[in-house]
């Protein structure tokens, strides 16, 4: 059985794949900037663009839970009082 790859091996093995994904993100953002008119983005697009930037900030941050934090960034906040909102009671 082969052993689990080391961190060094993961970086070496995934470098081109991650590089390609980063280039794809950069190219999309360039395309947005290139095609945005003088007035820039409308409100909905500006919010989505800001959400992408917040995601990029998480990717660039330290820690071992970036994927989970990204998921939470793109999730609606949990409403603990949903039962009251729906008029449902716990049994």
């Amino acid at each position: 059985m082969s052993s689990s790859p080391s961190a060094d091996e993961i970086v070496a093995d995934k470098f081109l794949e991650v590089r390609a994904k980063l280039l794809e993100i950069a190219a999309v953002l360039d395309r947005v900037d290139r095609t945005a008119g003088e007035n820039g983005l409308d409100d909905a697009a500006r919010q989505k663009r800001a959400a992408l930037q917040a995601g990029i900030d998480i990717v660039a941050s330290e820690g071992s839970d970036r994927a989970a934090r990204l998921q939470m960034l793109y999730s609606r906040e949990y409403q603990a009082d949903w039962r009251e909102t729906f008029g449902m009671t716990s049994s």
């Binding site: 052993s3 689990s4 989970a68 998921q71 999730s75």
Partner: protein, 270 residues
């Protein structure tokens, strides 16, 4: 390696897919009831669908040496029609003694609405009354976290529910821990774009150890890959994970969970 796909919608797939899955090592699968791509108009539409799931698909699978199991419900997308949902829930017991039925599913939430929650609770009540296991669909994208928490709230509210007989599907990095911590089984769906890749699924296996964890393709009529579980097996091997851990996730765990269904009978390949 022999494997089991615990969530795949074969009514949407061709017979060629059965042949491919058999060649890739698939020996069993379970098919939850789901949305057909349109809202069905009557309880008889569901009755016909349940016949397809309990008669046609098992026969089609058997031609390729695959054992086919199923789960019955009206899905969350159609739960906005509460009246029709109640008619379907009342009809489901007609099929619960069919030999390939494992339980109630895939029930859950889609947009986290009151009607969806109402129909979910009534499905859970049906499952408890008929001593059935449960397979759960959790919402997509930004609705997943809230919907998963609501589902866990509703299940934990009902003291009759045994978490060990409930599989919560489509978990991702932000929902897997709470599902497992509350004692439920968790399913990872390997899906392009909206759920998780084999690589991220293996990350979650490495982080949790694979206990009470299953992986599925959820292959259906949309963009999906029915051979995604073999992709997961390949990724686990690439990372040097043990054959025993791979087998646990793709074979032993599904068998252990399915065996909690009273009608489950499985013949391993000799």
């Amino acid at each position: 390696m022999d494997y089991i796909d615990p969530h795949i919608h074969m009514v949407s797939r061709t017979t060629d897919d059965y042949a491919t899955l058999a060649r890739m090592g698939c020996v069993a699968m379970s098919e939850p009831a789901f949305w057909a791509g349109y809202d069905r108009g009557s309880v008889d539409g569901f009755r016909d669908y349940f016949r397809q799931l309990t008669e046609t698909e098992p026969a089609r699978a058997a031609q390729y040496g695959i054992q086919h199991f199923t789960w019955l419900c009206i899905n969350a997308k159609e739960a906005e029609n509460v009246s029709l949902s109640r008619d379907v829930i009342a009809m489901i017991p007609e099929f619960l003694d069919c030999p390939n039925v494992l339980g109630i599913g895939e029930i859950g939430l889609n947009k986290n609405t009151k009607n969806e929650a109402t129909v979910f609770v009534e499905h859970v009540d049906l499952a408890v009354k008929y001593d059935q296991s449960i397979l759960i669909h959790t919402p997509h994208l930004e609705d997943k976290y809230q919907g998963t928490r609501m589902i866990l709230d509703m299940l934990c509210d009902d003291s009759r529910v045994d978490p060990d007989r409930v599989l919560v599907d489509h978990v991702e990095e932000h929902t897997i821990k709470e599902v497992l911590d509350r004692g439920f089984w968790a399913g990872m769906t390997l899906y392009p774009v909206t759920k998780c890749t084999p690589q991220r699924a293996v990350d979650m296996i490495e982080m949790t150890g694979g206990e009470r964890l299953l992986a599925n393709s959820a292959g259906d009529w949309g963009p999906s890959k029915p051979t995604a579980v073999p992709d997961l097996i390949f990724e686990m091997r690439q990372r040097g994970l043990s054959e025993s851990l791979i087998k646990k996730v793709v074979y032993d765990n599904p068998l252990e969970f399915f065996a909690k269904s009273k009608r489950f009978e499985f013949s391993p390949r000799q």
